[in-house]
């Protein structure tokens, strides 16, 4: 049954997550859905410009994309959501250590994957107001092969005093932070917060080594 569910496009979901983040950062204030749409569009152009720039080395690209990521994504917000109820159970020290690691975890998991980009076309298909005054910018990644279906990726965007930030990436209906909440919670509920944080630290360390040795390809 999982075959049915994941077959059409889920298998590409994680590959495109890095793009999703990068396509959607913010450095200005937009008061409405249309503004958010134009904003995402202009960012996607900039990101593609970096990815396609032949004069930049891979490590230079990674640096630029990481900068874009840091300016566009509210990793602190996402990290808190992802840890869910266990965030309150953690000590202040654990909380700040976790949030720092979570930020690195996202960056080192997804930014290096720009290498897998294969000329998909990026299209904004719709913009919707959702709960809490947030906006969902719905996009499609259209593969160049003629009979492959497009991949739907939505960005959830919140605004604070006119500064927009990405707080979730939803690929084919699967929310990154909701999946992480189950994923992290599954470990924390049986092994506890300190164990989880030590595993996260280990993971971040390994991801950094991987990037250093083979450019993020596994």
């Amino acid at each position: 049954m999982n075959t049915n569910v994941f077959k059409t496009s889920m298998h590409k979901f994680y590959i495109v997550i890095f793009l999703s983040f990068l396509f959607s950062f913010s450095n200005g204030a937009y008061a409405d859905a249309d503004g958010a749409k134009n904003f995402v569009k202009s960012i996607s152009d900039k990101v593609l410009a970096v990815v396609k720039d032949k004069s930049l080395s891979d490590s230079q690209k990674e640096k630029e994309l990481t900068n874009i990521f840091q300016n566009s994504v509210d990793a602190k917000w996402m990290g808190r959501f992802a840890m869910g109820k266990y965030f309150r159970q953690a000590s202040g020290e654990e909380q700040s250590k976790y949030l720092k690691l979570y930020n690195e975890f996202l960056i080192h998991s997804y930014v290096p994957r720009f290498r897998e980009y294969t000329s998909e076309e990026f299209k904004i298909s719709d913009v919707k107001a959702v709960e809490d005054g947030q906006v969902m910018v719905q996009t499609e990644l259209v593969p160049q092969t003629k009979d492959a279906p497009a991949i739907r990726v939505d960005y959830r965007i919140k605004s604070d005093a006119g500064i927009y930030k990405v707080i979730d990436v939803v690929g084919e209906g699967v929310s990154l932070i909701t999946t992480q909440r189950s994923d992290f919670g599954g470990m924390i509920s049986s092994k506890g917060v300190p164990y989880f944080i030590s595993k996260l630290e280990e993971r971040v360390k390994n991801l950094k080594l991987q990037v250093a040795s083979n450019g993020g390809k596994s």
Binding site: F81, T179, G185
Partner: protein, 256 residues
Amino acid sequence: MQFHKYLAVFFLCACSFSPSAFSEDVKQENSKAKSTPAINITADKPEDQDLGYIKTDGDPLEPVNRGIFAINDAIDKAILSPVARTYKKVVPEWGREKIGNFVDNLKTPVTVVNSLLQGDVDNALTSFWRFFVNTTVGVGGLNDVGQEVGLKQREEDFGQTAGHYGVGPGPFLMLPVIGPSSLRDTVGFAADSASNPFNYVGGAAVAGKAATEGVHERSEYLDLTDEIERTSFDPYSAYRSAYLQRRNDQINNGEK
């Protein structure tokens, strides 16, 4: 054939599991639809919010599911995933594309029936013409001519039909070999198999179809499973959550 017997047995077992959890789930979903808070007082506390996404943590059969997951994982690592990797390496992309089209085409009758059951005449007709065009011009379904002429594929199944009429997923189930499912989708899957005319063409052909489907589809989500292995801390929970979200999205046809 044996596969179907197996499914039937499992289906019966599944139905004897906690009906209360099943109805509770439906209730939960109904009450949720009505209550969207107008004012958000927890905006600064993301850990207390759910952003209106479906809940994916309920799991009354977790110990059993985890046991099956461990066995599945071992079988997958020993047999399924190596076979799928070899298939991906040996068969060129255009060949895999044709096999994928062929496998998809055989499922189209089930999509037509379920689109009609959901009152979605549009998708029923689109799927009907896809099947017609792909089977004839597309040489027995090897070529997705339908997609090229703008007949877009959207698969429907009995699990989605039940979901369309408000049936919640019920308890999450990890099925042996097949993988993540729910009570609703397991029943639906049994109905899909029973209603698919191509499952009645004879033993060897059905076995061949099942094997082809299995290998091809496993190869299609190698990237996903590799990625979950790479990024998750408790893969079982990640699969459960992703499965339930994806099914919910399919039921809403990606429009919610």
